[in-house]
Amino acid sequence: MRKWLTRLLLIALLALGLFTLRSFQQAPLHHSQSYVFGTLVDISIVGETDERAAVLSNHILRDFQQLHQQLHAWKTDKQGKPSELGKLNSAFAQGNAPINLSLQLANMLEDAQALSSQSQGLFNPAIGHLISHWGFHKDEFAAIEIDEAKIASLVKDKPSMADIVIKNHTAYSNNPQVKLDLGGYAKGYALDMAAHYLRQQQVNNALINIGGNIIAIGKNGDKPWRVGIQHPRNPSAIATLDLDDGWAIGTSGDYQRYFMRNSKRYCHIIDPRNGYPVQHTQAVTVLIPPHNKAGVLSDVASKPIFIAAPADKPQAAAKLGITHFMVIDAESNVVITQAMAKKLNWSDANFEKNHHVRVIHTD
């Protein structure tokens, strides 16, 4: 009997030893951070040598820089030349003579047109003039004087993605008031581009985060990649979830770019129907299953849901085929789909007890 117990003790010790050993045998993680697209880009690569991971990360960052310069909505390059998007916008403003554009930009615009129409115009990258009027086309923006007449006239111009005609590598706009701002599309496009590149390079495990939009490849060692979701009002995570291979996550929030005026918050997400920043919602998070455009959808799909009135949010999600989403309203109450709730672990004690949380069914 005593022998048997000694063995038990030995087994317990062995288990402890194995556990300790395992924690030292984690696959190497290479982590790099950089500032592109006016935000933080964070790339983690697991299971590659440090040298290879650094080369891959740098390649991705160079691609991002290039895309950023190509699509910048208001800056010119070092020689004072506008971006490819800037040139297109000037041409649109001057009339409807077609101008040449790259195949890459043509594909992006066609995709954005389809998504805009699918969202019934709530995702509308053609409202650059409105965004600019609200002062968000600056690195350092400030509270503006609200010019109701000007906003009304910018809305009345009805700039829409459907005004743009793309044919044989050229484009023109039937509405001179169209000004493209791909701020709600480019980061998602960049995620897909980087994920595609890494898979091509046979990288099996990586995590890419562009300003909070994230796509996962493989796992982090023997565990899935774990993502924290930012609380819109506190500097902490409201919840965590595991992002499996190929999944992407994106959030639109009123706390990323905003200004305060008479103690009211004006965020950068503007309702194209009335021209005003949305004030009924703090954050919308969407989770996108594996798909060759998961990144784009993680960036785009949160916008129409954010902009739609609280009662219309489920329909806005359904139009884009989104089943996993979470809304945090102006009073910090949570509405979450059952599919999303299943994947989420609350970090916040109140939410864990399901206070201020309403679960909805989307099927």
Partner: protein, 132 residues
């Protein structure tokens, strides 16, 4: 006062089944509790990054004021009693300063215009990256 080696040897040989059981169960319990309760919550260090480089990593329990020069200019970071915060920043909107004190592992404050970030690091990361 002190038990001699023979005495210890004797007492071990005289341990009964119950004693062994207590030893075995308590060892397993200690290992289990250590794994699960060893405080992961409170962070131990703060990592300051400037642009794409790690600028420095500081112990959170040693109070200090750190001056860091970012893309716009000099920011001041306060560290004290297991917490860290942006105290001063040359950026326009001051989001980073308004974030206030960070004290849990995994929390981060990022100043995009000045390209400086703070990240609290603990025994264990509660998540690999942050969605915002």
């Amino acid at each position: 006062m002190f038990a001699s080696f023979t005495q210890i040897k004797n007492s071990i040989t005289h341990l009964r089944i119950g004693d062994w059981l207590v030893i075995a169960i308590s060892s397993v319990l200690v290992v289990y509790l250590f794994q699960h309760l060893w405080s992961h919550e409170h962070a131990a260090k703060v990592q300051i990054r400037v642009g794409d480089k790690v600028h420095a990593t500081y112990d959170l329990n040693l109070a200090r004021h750190v001056q860091v020069t970012g893309a716009l200019g000099e920011a001041v970071i306060h560290i004290a009693h297991g917490k860290a915060r942006f105290a001063k920043s040359p950026c326009h909107n001051q989001y980073c300063v308004h974030q206030g004190w960070l004290n849990h592992s995994g929390q981060a404050a990022i100043c995009l215009p000045n390209q400086i970030s703070l990240e609290l690091i603990g025994e264990k990361k509660p998540y690999d990256t942050l969605n915002y």
